[in-house]
Each structure stands twice: as C-alpha cells, then as structure tokens.
Symmetry: C2
Subunit: 247 residues, 2 copies
DNA sequence: CGTTTGGTTGAAATGTGTCAAACTTTGTGG
DNA sequence: CCACAAAGTTTGACACATTTCAACCAAACG
C-alpha cells in the first residue's frame, strides 16, 4: 500500500490508474511540450466562456471545476488532484461551459492542443486513454448528480469523502486512514448543494458517529466500511483499471 | 422552422447538430451494420453492471439514463431522443455505471463496438465527432448537477423544459411553441430530485405563471423568453454547432 | 366498464436554509 | 514574535421549502 515511485510523472501515474500504458506510450507522453506554471490559491485557471488553445494537467495541489450563475450560486462539479486534466474536453469543445479554479497553490502544466492532437494521431491508444479519461470524468458527474439529487446531507458528505479517499489512494497520495483534503466548509457546501451551516452540522454528525473527521484540511476515516455504507458508495463509477480500492 | 428532410437518418441528423460532416463521412455512417429492434415502453435497454459489446442509437421514441441504489432511490441523468447514442461510452468503459430504459415504445439500432472502432480508425474525424458527442453528454450532466444542486424547484423544471425544447428543435422535432415530452410527473421528479407531489404543484405554478404547460405528454411554451429566464437557461452547454436556438 | 396508472389537493411533519453572533484559527505586517 | 486582521468554524433561534401521508379524481386501456 506504499506510494508508487515518487519520480513517476503525475500524468502518467494518473493515467496508469485507468489505462495500461506501454513503455513507448509513456515516453511519448513525457515528450509532450509542457509549460509549467505555479499558481496561487483561489485563482481561476480557466473560465466559463474561454476558448482555450491548450489543456492543462494538475501536477501538484488541488483544483475544482465549478459553474456559477448570475445570482452568484455556485456548484462545484468535481475536485481535481495530481495528474488530472480537468479541461481535457476543450480539445473538442471550443467554448468552456465551466470554470476551473485552484483551491491551494498549484503547479500546473499547459500543453498546446496541437501537441495533443498530434500525439493522438501518432498514438491512437493514447487517444483512447484520453477519451477514457473524459468518460470517467463524466461518470463522476453522474455520480455527483445522484449524490445531490437523491442522498441525504449525511450521505452526501460521506460519499464525497469516500470518492476522494479512493482517488487519492489510487495515485499514492493517501494512507489507509488519512488524506489531505484542503477544502473549506463553504466549498464542501458548494459541492453538495447545501449551506455552510448545514455542512458544519453534518460534519459534526459524521464525527460523532465515528465515521470521518475533516480537520485542518485532513480527512481521517476511522471506519472505512461504515463510511462506505453511510455514503452509499460503490467504486464502480470510477472505472479504475485494477479496482484499486484499498481494504 | 420546418422539420429537416424526413429521409435523413436520425444519427446523421443528430450528429450534424454538433459536428460538420462531409458526404463521405455521412456515407460511412450509413454503411454501419445496424441491427434494428422495436422495444416496448418502460423496458431497460442496458443495465448498470452490463458489459456491452455493442452500442445503440435511439432511432424513434424516448429513453432516459438513470441510476438506482439499493434503497430504490432513482436519479434520472438525462433524456435521449432521436439520433442520440446514450451508451456510446461503453466503447471505452467496459462496465456500465448506469442504466438506460425506454419511456415510450422505441426503435433502436444496435452497432457492434468493433464496427465503430473500425470506423474510428478509418475516419478519424468521425471518431472526433463521437468523442465530441460524449463530451456534450458530460456537459449536460454538469448542467443537471447545477440544476439539482442550486436551482429552486420552479427553475429546475423550467430549465429542463428549455433544454428539451432546444434539443428537439435542433433535430427538427419541435415547433416554435410545442413539443412532445412523454414523461410522467414521477419521471420528472426523478430527474429533478423532487417528489411527485411537488412536481405536480410546481407544474401548476408554471402553468399559472403562463410560462409552460405539460399536458398529455406535450410541452407548450407560451412565452419562451420568460421561461428561459425563469429556468436560468443558457444554451452554451449544449455546444450546438450552429447555436441553433430558435428565437 | 372495471381496473390500473397517473394526476391533484390538503394537512401535518421535517430537513435544511436563513440570519446573526461569537469563537477559533490562520496569515501578515510591524 | 507579537498584534491585529481576515478567514473559517461553530452555535442558536427561527423561517420555510419540500416531503410525507392520505385521500380522491381523471384518464387510459384491455
């Protein structure tokens, strides 16, 4: 259950959780010309309405995808971690219909669309891997839709804690009982369609039930099986290659 | 505002709303070996957990994608109409994480994965078109997530009416003020995360506000602009090629 | 024409939101 | 390293949108 080799590139480590790459494919990915940038917390990386000519990969830190309407209501659609490419879709959809912002200081790598399109042409399997990545993102949106539409406040938060636990473990960033989750209660509220106040109360309930705590940006899960059950959590939708759910 | 040529194949008509096809591409699509089936209403076409070896296109009728958990809660994730391919993703995700069921009697066309993969290899642009179709599906999930997470009951239903109006117009199945929408109030409830009772009351409110009616499986929209505003509706997320929103 | 399915309405219960205040932690400039 | 400000968390009282339960009605259908 130890972390994978630290020297592995985040993009490859992530992609390997959902797709079997061979050596030449890994090399091709490493050759992608990538412009590195360091961003502060609470900054937009891309915005709804943008027409990007490049995609980005999150190398370090946390970001979230979100939508906001004129009245200022915000729905967070997903959290992104090391290796994720939250706007991969801009390859085929000219105009972004959501924004991506940092939650923490982030290191990101920008890759021109053209470079990705060339790579897709030369390495059709990598093209499939990228397609697959966007499909799994869509599966996560579906699960979140279910989460917000059908589950109680208690289960919603439990479910989110489970998802991030599994995803963090998959890329070697979580221990058995603990992982970093640097979100405020307000952000959790925007992710679950609740108010900050109610998130606060629900976190207390989860804590008192002995299922999970969120403190100082760290989630601790004393009882994984119970949390999974409380959150009505089934890994299937993450479509991990090795069904890498830790015990 | 008349319907497009009736002899156009539904798949092509749909794809043309989001992607510019040339004649050879249209022909390649028409050559796809497709097994036609007629299904009754309220039947599952594919089920969560299935590992399909083929995709299907909806040729006539309505279907919906949905998820259901052990307690019997159901979330409808989207409605599909003529030309849609609601399980296209099974091309790259072995196991389905949701189900698709008919709402009305349907005519569907099954296409083996292999045939689609061959087509993708020979016609990379069609491959991109399919990818794009799955990305637009994902955009719709995002918008629904926002809908359920952030909008009032009133706005949720207004928004759904707007989305289907635009999509139906895009494939030539809607007139200016009217289109078929053969859903029960219970199904609308499962799509919006509300109860049947509350859907009923909200439909009354929409009717009394003069924004829209749903009666006998037909939506009538006396005042499009007001409905759009009430539903906080912006077309962008549908990523239509020609921004084909009717006045 | 009776049976089923879907729609409508009322009254009461409740989960979640709203408002407001106090408290705690984190970050920062002096 | 302190002191202050800013950001985030916690709690209470109350309001309200939505659910629940239950009954009745209307339309569809074999």
């Amino acid at each position: 259950m130890a972390a994978t080799h630290p020297e592995i590139h985040p993009i490859i480590r992530k992609l390997e959780t959902i797709f079997k790459l061979d050596e030449s494919e890994r090399e091709a990915l490493l050759r992608l010309p990538m412009q590195i940038a360091d961003l502060r917390a609470d900054q937009d990386i891309v915005r709804e309405g943008d027409r990007p000519t490049r995609c980005f990969a999150l190398l370090e830190g946390w970001s979230c995808s979100y939508k906001m309407n004129a009245e200022g209501n915000r729905q967070i659609m997903g959290f992104s971690i090391s290796g994720d490419m939250p706007d991969l879709q801009s390859l085929h959809l000219r105009e972004l219909d959501y924004s991506v912002g940092t939650l923490t200081p982030c290191k990101v790598g920008f890759v021109e669309h053209q470079a990705l399109l060339d790579l897709c042409k030369n390495q059709p399997r990598i093209c499939n891997a990228f397609w697959r990545e966007t499909l799994i993102e869509a599966a996560i949106f579906r699960e979140w839709l279910f989460n917000v539409g059908q589950r109680s406040a208690f289960a919603r938060i439990a479910h989110i804690f489970c998802e991030l636990a599994v995803r963090m473990r998959a890329v070697g960033l979580a221990t058995d009982r603990t992982y970093d989750f640097p979100v405020t209660q307000a952000e959790l509220a925007d992710a679950t369609g609740m108010t900050t106040v109610h998130v606060n109360r629900t976190l207390r309930d989860l804590r008192e039930a002995g299922l999970a705590t969120l403190k100082g940006g760290v989630v601790t899960i004393p009882d994984w099986e119970s949390l999974k059950q409380a959150g009505d959590f089934e890994v299937r939708y993450l479509h991990l290659k090795g069904r890498a759910e830790a015990a």
